[in-house]
Structures are given as C-alpha cells and as structure tokens.
C-alpha cells in the first residue's frame, strides 16, 4: 500500500505472494541451522543455509517452523512464525540467511533450543518491501525491540545513496539488538535505552524529535512496539515528513490466504500485513483499532 520507488514497481493489490512481483519469488524449503547463538538477554542470532534462496528486498520476512523439524511431523506448536530477514549472503546453491529474534513465547523458546545441523522450514521471502528513499532524501530509521531486525537491510542498502540516520531503542543495553552490525555501516547511529545502560537514557522517540528538528527532506521508517510506532508516526506527521511503518500482526500463513493478519485502515476496512505490507504509510493505519 506504499508507493515503491524504482527499481521496485508497484504490485497489483491482490497478487498475494506475488505482490512483490519484480521482487524475488517466494519459495518453501527446509533450511539447515548453521548457528543459533544467544546474544545477551533474550536475543538470539540464527544463521540458516537456505538452498535456492532467491534473495530478498528490505522489509521482507519469512515464515519459520516453530522449532526444529524432526522425522516426525509434530503438530504442537502448529503455526509457523513470521521473522524479518535480517540479511542474507549468497553462497554455493543458495544463501546464508540471518534472523535476529527474541525469545518471548513457546515458538521462539523452541527455536532457541534448535541446534546447528537441525532443519527449519522456511517459506519466503514474503511481503512487500520498504519503498527505497528518494534521491537526496534523508532516511531516518527508528526501530525498537525486535523491530530493529526489520530495518537493518534498508539501512545497509541505502547507506551509499543518501544520508541515513539509524535511531535504535531498547529497554536496556542487554536487550539491544544488532548494535555492532549497524555500527559497521556507513550510517549515523544513535541509541537510547530506557535505563540509560547504553546510549542516551530515555525513549528513542526523543532522538527522533531532535533529528526531525533538522531541516531538509526526510522520510521516516519505523518498526517496533506498537506504541513506539504510533508516536513516531505522530512526530513525523507533525514535522511534515512521510512515515513508513512496518507492522507485526499475528499471522497464520504469511502469503495472503488466511486473512488473519488484518490491519485496520484509516479509510475503513483492512489491509493484509503479509501481503499489502508489512510496510505501510503511517497515515493509512487506524492506530486506535490496531491491537
């Protein structure tokens, strides 16, 4: 539901898993776990060897089976879990795909117990990517919690284009994801933690207010807790900047058929986060009706 800047052309509203037409075609495949490491707190880094991986565009995600696959299909837990693609590196016959995730419930707890050599089912890449920043436009990426994983690739691909600011927030320094990865990019990185244990003390939205105070064309991208995103959207609107939000609704399929991931729209009705998003213009969303 967002205007896609070249090279990515606007997709037919209903093309489902083909929505990112022109983008890579989704596949369903078993991937081998190369590494599944705790990075402090409840955060883990998962590296997968994905045969035939077609590449992906910033903001896209995969559906991951909850826990390692065994010779026996286990039906509890049942549903695959949506996870943003942090980044991928092509290799012989496929790619190494990286996922950063947080242990929060049954599925991610099982995922955290998965060992190298075990396999996970991967369906993806899914969803429509972030619109790429227009030439000369400043990209301000505001991410918190697990949302940080969703914006890394956008930062990585935009760094050589225009100016990219990355503002990361977390409760504590231990909860902060991927700081080193962003630090290695040619972007201006600022951090805020609620307890001040890393970066500035306070909310990431405080960093955003200062950034928006600076003049010049800018587009805000945000992913994280609902309350944070809504606040970011309000600040962006107040400063007359466009704002793209990446939503994290519950999903059963990930490719537009279960209608489970509906996001309420300001103009009424719903969009499907997996198919029409996860990236939306902030102004499209009826924030009050979003769980």
């Amino acid at each position: 539901m967002v205007d896609r800047a070249a090279p990515h052309r606007e997709a037919k509203p209903d093309a489902g898993a083909d929505a990112s037409a022109g983008g890579p075609r989704a596949l369903r495949v078993d991937a081998e776990v190369i590494e599944n490491r705790c990075e402090g707190g409840e955060n883990l880094r998962l590296r997968l060897r994905v045969p035939g991986w077609p590449g992906f565009l910033p903001g896209q995600f995969v559906m991951l089976s909850p826990g390692a696959r065994t010779s026996v299909e286990r039906t509890d837990p049942l549903l695959p879990r949506p996870m943003a693609i942090f980044r991928s590196r092509p290799e012989q016959g496929g790619a190494e795909v990286e996922i950063l995730y947080r242990r929060v419930g049954r599925g991610t707890r099982l995922l955290a117990e998965t060992l190298p050599g075990q396999r996970l089912r991967v369906v993806g890449p899914l969803g429509r990517p972030f619109p790429t920043p227009a030439a000369g436009e400043r990209a301000v990426l505001v991410a918190g919690g697990t949302g940080i994983a969703s914006v890394y690739e956008l930062a990585a691909r935009s760094q050589n284009g225009g100016r990219v600011e990355v503002l990361l927030g977390a409760r504590t320094g231990a909860d902060l994801m991927a700081e080193a990865d962003f630090a290695a990019l040619d972007v201006s990185l600022r951090i805020a933690t609620e307890d001040g244990s890393r970066g500035e003390r306070g909310l990431v939205t405080a960093l955003l207010e200062r950034s928006l105070a600076e003049p010049g064309a800018a587009r805000v991208y945000t992913c994280g807790p609902r309350a944070m995103m809504e606040r970011v959207a309000i600040l962006a609107a107040a400063s007359g900047r466009a704002c793209v939000v990446s939503l994290e609704n519950h999903m059963a399929c990930g490719f537009g058929v279960c209608l489970g991931c509906a996001a309420p729209l300001a103009r009424g009705g719903f969009a499907l986060v997996c198919r029409d998003g996860p990236a939306f213009e902030a102004s499209e969303i009826a924030w009050g009706a979003l769980p």
Partner: protein, 308 residues
Amino acid sequence: MSDALDTSVDLGGIRLRNPVLTASGTFGYGVELAPFLDLRRIGGFVAKSLTLEPRSGNPPPRIAETPSGMLNAISLENVGVEAFVRDKLPALPEGVTVIASVFETEIERYAEVCKRLTGVPRVAGIEVNASCPHVKSGGIEFGQQPQVLAELVRATRRATTLPLLVKLSPNVTDIAAMARVCEAEGANGISLINAVQALEVDIETRRPLLSNVLGGLSGPAIRPIALRMVWQAARAVQIPVCGIGGIASAEDAIKFLLCGATAVQVGTANYLNPAVAGEIADGIAAYASRHGFRRVADLRGALELPGR
C-alpha cells in the same frame, strides 16, 4: 505412481483429476499459492466464500494458536461475487478446477449469489457454507437447525444448475440428520466439517484472544471429530461426501476416503506448508498403487469394521 492407476473421482457431478481439494478460506483465490504449488497437481480448490457485496471482516486479532490447532474469526471478509468473477477467475491458469463457495446472512442472498455464479465458465460447482450465523434466528448457524438448513438448500438448489455441495457445521447433535436434509433437498454432495466453535483466552490480559470472542477451531486437533462425522454422514446418505478437518498428510486424507469420503479438502495445513496439497495427492496415489487399487475412487468406504 503406476500408470495403470486412475486417480480421478466424481464429486456430485464435478469431475476431479484426483480427490484432493483445498478448503475455502485457506487457499485464497488460488493465485496466492501458485509460487509454491502447481495448481494442476491437485483436484481443484474451493475459493474463499463469497457474499453478494464485498465485505470486510472482524477487527484483529482474528487468529490464535491452540494445541495442534488454531482458532479463527475472520467473519465474512471477501471481495464479493462480482470481483471474484471479474478479477479472480481470469487470473487462474487453465486446467484448474474451481469450486465457488457462498455464505450470506439471509437465504435470499445466498440464492442470489448462486444465481450470479451459474453459467460462469470457470466455476465447476458451488459449495454452500452453512456455518454462518442466521440473523433471523438470532445468530444460530443455518447449519444447526434442520428446518433452516432445508430452506437454505432448497433455495440455493433452485437458484443454480451447477453441482451443489452443502458444507455442514460440526456444531450439531446429529450430523447424519443434517446430511439427510441436504440429500432430501437435492444437494449433489456434502462437505464436512467446518471449524468447531471454540474459545481461547489470555490469562494475563484476562481477555479472549480473538476480538470476536468465539472462533472456529481447525487443524489436526479436530481430525478425529471430523473423521467420525464424515463416517456417520457417509453412512446416512447416498450422495458423495467431501471430507474436511485437520488433514495434513496423505495418511490423514486416506483415512477420510476409507471412512466414506469421495474427496477431501485440505485447510489449515496449507498455512504450514503451501505445497502440502500436492504432496497429499501424490501420497494417495502411491498408497492406492501399493495396495493394488486400480482406481483411487475404490478407496471410498474401504474401511473394515470389526465383526461384532
């Protein structure tokens, strides 16, 4: 598979390449699954249920996970019959068998949607979803009351010359009686089961997990209930039965065929593995060959009961 094997089945006048369909609401309008599965590998699919006008559904959350199952409360969300005929059907590759599904809030509207679908080239048949709250009877499902179900089948039967399947609600005391009602009113077949009415709550927020409070339970958890109802229904009527409920493997599907189903529909399992329906079709053929069947259709009702 053995070339000798004939995998085709006849589902109340709908000729299917093989007995594996996908269930309404779990396969979208077909194109969504194309990246993962050649739609010609399966018998066909039942499209998301249609109403007269486009409808939007319940607010989120609409889905929740349960032990070996999931809850959903999507409500009537769909593009409407017109857009389906105009945009969705033409987008499908040739050779894909499509069964249209219909739900509505009043019998007259059900009949009208059936009329609109009749004569549309790509529509091989209609499945009437009787698991919808009947406004006039205060929200009780059409499929929960024999008289109301009879009226619904009669009206939709009159409205179309297409093969007519009626999809039954499992939330009843006597599924066989409901099956007989459909047969008596001229349905060409019955499909069962729809999702089982259920509830799930979050003990920390102390709220239901779904905005709609109640939802429909689907997935492997309900398979033994579905198998029982299919067995009871198949013994009660002569018209073909399409088995639905928790099917996630060829083995699961074969159980329904053995219990009297002519064909099956795969639902929730599509979400876990969008290619599963094709794998199930292959697996059924392999089983039939291994067990020396010439026709997959002969698996129907091949269950042996203990001689008691």
